[in-house]
């Protein structure tokens, strides 16, 4: 019975809680049991917050029993990527340099989750400081893809995606700087959304690249993402880059989309995000999905975004530049790891050096060095300056494309999940995995990845939908329509196609 509870969507869980058919304690316990049963294989969590989660659940149950007016998601448990600070709960961002640090404050989105009465199951694994596409750069071990334990769950938010795919959590929070929500969604058969930049407060997100970072939902259905998006979104006076407007009507759009009618919707296929480098199975599923959308009444046209080919290059200058500065604060002086030099004088400078040397992993060091170089006097204009110009050109490509169509679409990632360890020695090959997701971050526009089948290798693939800034509801409508049509064809959700994990005790 409890086993079945974890298979429900968050919306269904919420409905049963509201109807009084189940309690939050039952639901939360079911997930903690599932975590205990599969974590040895999946390792999606860095910290499990069982006691507090059950206490929250009991509190919500009591308030519901007392007839209190509760948030629709009250009592539905959630997992949070370890890059988001949580008061009283360890927060490491996947790095040794923050081992043992317990933040004294909550991120704004965590405050909202707590205020809604959602039990927090724990903190999920990730590439160190969200730098990576496979979660292999975590300082605390890899997370395995529930579809094939020998493969990566994507990254940087592999923990959140794997937790949701393995029914360890119905909902999770991710962050997306270059695709860290959408690409893990694609390779684990889950839904991932990067809202418009500024749509959800960044206050309390340990920053990698401030102008690109965006938190968003990781779920099993488009509607669930919309529900979580609506909860977390909105203006935050503590984040001056947050949008000072109401959250777009994402939940309504998801419900409207599920009704299946896309008549009059213009969908643009980005020429530059297809062809060479895309796995045949990925391309085949993409073409089939276009047919499905056409069948729902949408008009499909091809749109060129000529500057997208420079996006990866610009991204790998802007992101490390900002990261090199954002990560400067990790120096052993105020919090986290502190390492004193083994010999010689113990000066502040030498402690900083020893701490950073021991506390950061190779990928972090690689990007800090790259960014420091790109910002240096004499190189700034050529690197950081040029990259900003490319960014402007990409924004213009989007503007021009959205003059012609309502949304843009592409495969989310060029390949299905690759084998653990297979790209660790080739950073460039790893970076190429984000080629389709990065343009949205550079332009600040929203992107959604929804599962659209399995490739020839039996692994899931994702379909990416991009909308203009602050028009997030458009992609929810199209995403829900596609999801609904595909599930009808399949006779159930995509995760039903995944092999059952062995439950251990």
């Amino acid at each position: 019975m409890t086993h079945d509870l974890t298979r429900l969507s968050a919306a269904e869980m919420a409905a049963r809680l509201t109807a009084g058919e189940i309690t939050s304690v039952e639901l939360t316990q079911a997930h903690l049991d599932r975590i205990a049963a599969v974590e040895a294989d999946v390792h999606a969590f860095l910290h499990v917050n069982g006691e507090e989660a059950l206490a929250t659940a009991a509190d919500v149950d009591a308030r519901r029993a007392a007839g209190e007016d509760l948030h629709p998601l009250a009592g539905v448990p959630i997992a949070i990527k370890d890059v988001v600070v949580t008061k009283g709960m360890p927060t490491t961002a996947g790095s040794k340099i923050l081992e043992g640090w317990v933040p004294p404050y909550d991120a704004t989105l965590v405050e909202k989750i707590r205020a809604a009465g959602m039990p927090i199951l724990g903190k999920t694994n990730m590439d160190e400081f969200a730098m990576g596409s496979s979660t292999e750069h975590s300082a605390y071990g890899v997370t395995r893809n529930p579809w094939d334990l020998g493969r990566i769950p994507g990254g940087s938010g592999g923990g959140s995606a794997a937790a949701v795919a393995a029914f360890e959590a119905p909902l999770a929070v991710g962050t997306d700087t270059g695709g860290s929500i959408r690409q893990p969604g694609a390779v684990t058969g889950t839904v991932g959304v990067k809202p418009t930049y500024g749509g959800i407060s960044r206050y309390g997100l340990i920053a990698m690249a401030s102008s690109l970072d965006q938190a968003g939902p990781v779920t099993r259905t488009v509607l669930d993402s919309a529900l979580l998006h609506e909860l977390m979104g909105g203006h935050d006076p503590r984040d001056s880059t947050s949008i000072d407007e109401d959250v777009p009507p994402v939940v309504d759009a998801a419900r409207q989309g599920a009704a299946g009618d896309l008549a009059g919707v213009r969908i643009g296929v980005v020429t530059e995000l297809s062809g060479e480098g895309y796995q045949p199975g990925v391309s085949a599923r993409f073409e089939e999905s276009l047919d499905v959308l056409r069948g729902l009444g949408a008009e499909i046209v091809e749109v060129s975004c000529p500057h997208f080919e420079y996006a990866l290059g610009a991204y790998y200058l802007i992101m490390p530049s900002e990261a090199s500065s954002n990560l400067a604060k990790f120096d052993g002086m105020r919090f986290g790891l502190r390492v004193e030099p083994e010999e010689g004088p113990v000066t502040a400078e030498r402690v900083m050096s020893a701490t950073r040397g021991a506390g950061f992993g190779d990928e972090v060091k690689r990007r800090v060095i790259l960014g420091t170089y790109a910002l240096s006097a004499g190189y700034y204009d050529a690197y950081y300056g040029s990259a900003q110009k490319v960014r402007t050109l990409i924004q213009r490509d989007f503007d021009a494309a959205f003059e012609k169509v309502d949304v843009l679409v592409s495969p989310t990632a060029p390949t299905t999940a690759f084998e653990l360890g297979s790209k660790l020695d080739d950073p460039l090959a790893m970076y190429l995995n984000d080629v389709a997701t990065i343009p949205a971050n550079l332009a600040g526009v929203p992107g959604l990845s929804v599962p659209n089948g399995v490739s020839d290798d039996g692994l899931p693939v994702g379909f990416q939908i991009l909308a203009p800034a602050k028009q997030d509801h458009r992609m929810y409508r199209v995403g829900a329509a596609l999801e609904n049509a595909l599930e009808t064809t399949w006779g159930g959700p995509i995760l039903a196609k995944a092999p059952e994990l062995e439950e251990k005790r």
Partner: protein, 500 residues
């Protein structure tokens, strides 16, 4: 410390070299909260109590610009006749140091909020010297390091260091001049007068307490010498953290003498920062400024640009208070002080207190007499500011009123003031309690006069003989007998009546 440095006498140095100065002044704004977070700002708090995750640079924290600080910066810009940017961004100045919690300082760099202004500075002799302002920009202060275990609180040889982040994130405005040329031998005086004029403006604008001794206002003084005013600028040094008007003047004088000696010896001045030593009045070499110093500035991605609307700027301009120089000119006219008198009042920092005294009903001359005389001496003896003396402008106005109405004379008034300073109450109360009122009833006076005449018959004879000299002695005796409470003029009249 290095061996004694050769110096060229100042007059000699400025005869042969033309000094050019440049001044960077940092002022701490008196906002309730910090530049980028809601941490309260108060002087003298327990270490690390005025912090938030933002000002501690904790992971995940984000800055938000303090609107009041922006308004203060605009006020300063307008008071310095600057243009106000329509849109300007913050930047990150990246460098590792424990007192900078994020290991970068959030500061404006190539887009200051105010630029291209000037300030007309009044020198000691009343001459006006125009200082051109390049820019005024906003930034945040760093924390404060305390080095423990070394000699004299220096980092060298210290066992460990403590950091207090209460100051980290306090809003600063930095005001940078263009090279100040043409001051010649008066360069030190111009430097002092400029910093002082800024301090007065900060106070008038009410943007800062602007207390030099608390470090609210800090000056970095750049100086270079060149052979003639036509020659290109020489290599400059930057003397950091000069924190009093007098020190600004002394630091410039010292650097002129030192650099002249270096140039005379066919040496080259090294471009470097220098430390000012208040006790010995000299500067010593700090770190050499080289190209290796690369702050990797880039636009702060956590903040949106600051874009003050023109309407808001005009609203602020319209609400600016009268500037100190204008006010001084107006008050001097109203009070009828001579130039020298006004200058003394200004230099003594007595403008406000005299203004308050006049407002309380005193004559301007009377107010000046008390505050620049008796009370100035008292303040000097007790090492206090005039405003910190235990007497109010209202009390001084009342005291002067008692003199003007003839109820007490100057001498009695000084006794009454003593009483006021001793905490015996208002002048009125002291006069009554001490019985200081001028004796205006002729009866007691005549008694005293008669007694004096009887006591000194020889003097009476002389006066009667036409020698008026001894009258003063008689009056003196009467004044003594009445403990100074008699009106000396009236006594003289009565003496003359008695002696026909």
């Amino acid at each position: 410390m290095s061996a004694a440095v050769d110096l060229v006498g100042y007059d000699e140095a400025v005869r042969r070299y033309d000094p050019v100065i440049g001044i960077e002044v940092h002022v701490e704004l008196g906002t309730r909260t910090k530049m980028f977070c809601a941490a309260e700002v108060e002087f003298g708090g327990e270490p690390n109590t005025q912090t938030t995750p933002v000002s501690l640079g904790l992971p995940g924290a984000l800055p938000v610009v303090n609107g009041k600080a922006v308004e203060s910066a605009i006020k300063i810009g307008l008071a310095l006749n600057c243009q106000i940017a329509e849109s300007c961004r913050f930047a990150r100045k990246n460098y590792f140091y424990p007192d900078v919690p994020k290991n970068f300082q959030t500061s404006q760099y190539d887009e200051p909020i105010a630029f291209d202004g000037y300030l007309d500075v009044e020198l000691d002799d009343g001459e006006i010297f125009r200082v051109e302002i390049e820019r005024a920009h906003m930034e945040e202060d760093a924390g404060k390091n305390t080095h423990v275990g070394g000699s004299g609180g220096r980092i060298h040889g210290a066992a460990y260091s403590l950091v207090d982040y209460n100051r980290a994130g306090i809003p600063l405005v930095e005001i940078v001049t263009r090279p100040i040329e043409g001051a010649g031998a008066r360069a030190p005086e111009v430097a002092r007068a400029y910093v002082r004029a800024l301090r007065d403006i900060f106070r008038a604008l009410d943007v800062s307490e602007a207390r030099m001794e608390r470090g609210n206002v800090r000056a970095d003084v750049n100086l270079s010498l060149r052979a003639t005013p036509d020659a290109p600028l020489g290599t400059r040094t930057e003397t950091k953290n000069v924190n009093s008007f007098r020190s600004v003047e002394r630091a410039v004088r010292y650097e002129v003498s030192r650099q002249a000696a270096v140039l005379d010896g066919a040496g080259t001045v090294i471009q470097e920062t220098r430390h000012w030593h208040e006790d010995t009045g000299i500067t010593t070499s700090g770190r050499v400024k080289s190209d290796a110093e690369d702050y990797r500035y880039f636009p702060e991605p956590d903040l949106v640009p600051v874009a003050p609307s023109r309407a808001w700027v005009e609203e602020i301009r319209a609400s600016l208070p009268e500037m100190p120089a204008d006010r001084r000119r107006r008050l001097q006219g109203e009070w009828g002080y001579a130039d020298a008198e006004m200058r003394d009042v200004v230099n003594a920092g007595a403008v406000e207190i005299i203004e308050a005294t006049v407002a309380a009903g005193s004559s301007a001359a009377g107010a000046r007499k008390w505050w620049m005389g008796e009370l100035a001496r008292k303040a000097k003896t007790d090492e206090l500011e005039l405003a910190d003396l235990p007497v109010t402008p209202e009390q001084i106005a009342q005291l002067q009123g008692l003199v003007d109405s003839g109820r007490i004379n100057d001498k009695l008034a000084r006794q009454a003031l003593e009483g006021v300073l001793a905490g015996e109450g208002d002048p009125e109360q002291v006069v009554v309690a001490r019985g200081l009122e001028v004796v205006s009833d002729d009866g007691p006076l005549l008694e005293a006069i008669d007694a004096a005449l009887v006591a000194q018959p020889d003097l009476v004879e002389k006066i009667k003989g036409g020698n008026m000299g001894p009258v003063g002695a008689i009056i003196g005796a009467v004044m003594k007998a009445t403990r100074g409470q008699a009106d000396a003029g009236r006594v003289r009249e009565l003496v003359m009546e008695r002696l026909g």
